[in-house]
């Protein structure tokens, strides 16, 4: 190798991430619900370049979702109340899983139910498929009845995670909600029940009003707030989880750029997921990945693991000053 090419081909950083027995080629995935369930973004990015694809929530029975209007733009983000519209697990197994059989990256299937039984049944149905790398338990959807129930109390979170762990060989990730009153309690329950990773955070409940019409902008009145507006909150939760528990975290919440993603990695996230960003830039996940790669290279950081959790807090106080 001559001098110029050596300079040009500065060694690429090691982007691989391990969660349990799974090795992800890089730390970038997409947030459930923002990437469809199969080829929605195939015209824009090469799926196999991502560390993993995370599907929109799948439920036992088909769900038609909430009535319209379901979305509304807000400052630095949007509200949504889709209501877990999906065609159900049968259709997912028959039509969506085969699509992923040829795509050489991990598939994380997000599932939700109204009872422990629902989650268990869904995990069992997905268990035989080698195309599925992990299941992500959505216990944090603010837009359906009982969507947040399992995040409401640590005991319930523990029960559902434990029950799913018992019936599946797949690693189990649990997506937690900032709406949980006892966030750290719920987190701890998930960790103790054997969750292999946590995905943080889901959306926050919000609202917008049409003043002239005196009506909520969404048919369901409330919706989940996502986008850069919630990024500082998401970051704080990821940091808090990592401070208290030794569990891999998939950080998500308003990540638009590689810089945003790096914030989460420095806070301790193993992986990052672009969510609402995909809606405004279909190549957001790829650009984030390219940006992370570039940053590591330029800063001579040999591996993403050398950056993870390197936040220095000495001299910074977390508590608000008294008074």
């Amino acid at each position: 190798m001559n001098k110029t090419s050596a300079k040009k081909n500065k060694k690429s950083a090691d982007l691989t991430v391990k969660i349990g027995n799974l090795v992800f080629k890089n730390p970038v995935t997409v947030a459930s619900g923002t990437f469809g369930t199969s080829d929605e973004y195939a015209g824009w990015i090469k799926y196999e370049k991502l560390g993993a694809i995370t599907t929109k929530t799948v439920t036992r029975k088909p769900r038609q979702g909430n009535v319209m209007p379901r979305i509304y733009e807000t400052p630095a983000g949007m509200l949504n109340a889709i209501g877990l519209q999906n065609k159900g697990i049968d259709e997912f197994i028959e039509h969506k899983i085969p699509y992923f059989s040829k795509i050489k990256t991990h598939l994380i299937v997000n599932i939700a139910g109204e009872s422990v039984e629902d989650y268990v049944e869904l995990a069992k149905r997905l268990d035989p498929f080698k195309e599925v790398s992990a299941v992500e338990l959505n216990i944090s959807c603010p837009n359906v009845k009982k969507g947040l129930e399992f995040c409401a109390k640590p005991e319930l979170a523990h029960e559902v995670v434990k029950a799913v762990k018992e019936v599946t060989r797949h690693p189990v990730f649990t997506k937690v909600s900032p709406e949980a009153h006892d966030f750290l309690g719920v987190t701890e329950a998930c960790v103790k029940a054997g969750s292999d990773a946590l995905t943080a955070i889901n959306t926050l409940k919000g609202m917008a009003i049409d003043v002239a019409g005196r009506r909520p902008r969404l048919a369901t009145a409330f919706g989940g707030l996502s986008g850069p507006a919630i990024r500082p909150i998401a970051l704080r939760y990821v940091y808090e989880i990592k401070k208290h528990f030794d569990i891999p975290v998939i950080g998500t919440g308003g990540i638009m750029t590689a810089y945003d993603a790096l914030e989460f990695i420095v806070a301790g996230a193993h992986m990052v997921a672009s969510g609402t960003a995909n809606f405004v830039n279909p190549r957001a996940s790829m650009e984030i990945l390219e940006g992370i790669e570039k940053y590591l290279k330029e800063n001579n950081i040999a591996s993403i693991s050398n950056l993870r959790g390197t936040l220095r807090v000495e001299g910074r106080k977390e508590e608000m000053p008294a008074g």
């Binding site: 619900g33 923002t34 990437f35 469809g36 929605e40 973004y41 195939a42 015209g43 824009w44 090469k46 929109k56 038609q64 979702g65 319209m68 209007p69 379901r70 979305i71 509304y72 733009e73 807000t74 400052p75 630095a76 983000g77 949007m78 949504n80 889709i82 519209q85 986008g227 850069p228 638009m256 609402t276 995909n278 809606f279 405004v280 830039n281 279909p282 190549r283």
Partner: protein, 268 residues
């Protein structure tokens, strides 16, 4: 910036979708409530068909956050035109843009209008909903061009309608131009004047109440047709499920499975 300087951001070899930075060639007010913006994109001009829309980012700062869906109004050579009115922050920013300013446009998105050769093609546009029918008229013979608005300020001027002018009928709610009332009054005239009304094929785009009235009239006279629906959108690619339209086969994404739905499927 030279308008030919438009930078290609993304084109995958086997895919026909583009996300491009384009430079505005012209941005003009054509009626007191209507504007049009034109920019060059040879790549998009080649593949766009009537009914297609683009997701337009009016700034590069994600503020306003979402892109805006705009249907194609006219294609001339490599020049694309979009018709818009100022209804919120996004369109307000767009209206202030000058020649040379940039937009990011992504498309072509959505499905397209059916091209009929042997039917009596009647288009019905309400307000800004007239936009896709100028492009449709470039690709297909239109026999009747019906345009309704609240007042004459919302109607396309003659220079914009061009050759279709002699096939045009207008209505305004306030009676300031054309027939006073809703555009369905003009539509009923056309239907009654047509010997074999079953040969009519209707194309409708506009506010939901207007399209509903058009569909009811079509049902009354046994006329086929299709409507382009307008819902708030986030992604434009069928992922977010925020823009669904109700159809006889359940909710369908208006961005991918629409925006055009046939009257027999669409429920308004």
């Amino acid at each position: 910036m030279d308008r030919n300087h438009a930078k290609k951001i993304c084109l995958l070899p086997d895919m026909k979708m583009l996300d491009q930075m384009v430079a505005i060639g012209e941005n003009t007010k054509i009626a007191s409530h209507l504007y049009k913006v034109g920019f060059d994109s040879a790549g998009l001009a080649k593949i766009l068909k009537p009914g297609h829309f683009l997701q337009v980012a009016v700034t590069d700062t994600y503020d306003p956050f979402l892109r805006r869906p705009y249907t194609i109004y006219r294609v001339k050579g490599s020049r694309l035109e979009i018709l818009y009115h100022v209804v919120g922050r996004g369109s307000d920013i767009l209206a202030r843009k000058k020649r040379g300013d940039t937009l990011k446009v992504m498309g072509p998105l959505g499905n397209i209008f059916k091209i009929n050769k042997n039917r009596i093609n009647v288009v019905v546009g309400g307000g800004i909903g007239i936009a896709p029918f100028i492009f449709l008229g470039q690709k297909m013979r239109i026999d009747h061009f019906l345009m309704g608005a609240r007042s004459k300020d919302g109607l396309l001027p003659r220079a914009e309608v061009g050759a279709l002018w002699k096939k045009a009928r207008f209505s305004t709610e306030d009676g300031s131009a054309g027939t006073q009332g809703f555009i369905t009054r003009c539509l009923e005239e056309v239907i009654r004047e047509t010997k074999d009304a079953k040969r009519i094929y209707l194309y409708a785009c506009g506010p939901t109440p207007m399209m509903k009235a058009v569909m009811q009239m079509a049902a009354k006279y046994g006329i086929e047709g299709e409507a382009s629906v307008e819902e708030r959108m986030a992604c434009g690619v069928g992922a977010c499920l925020g823009c669904v339209a109700e159809t006889r086969d359940g909710y369908k994404t208006s961005c991918v499975e629409g925006t055009v739905f046939t009257f027999d499927k669409l429920i308004l």
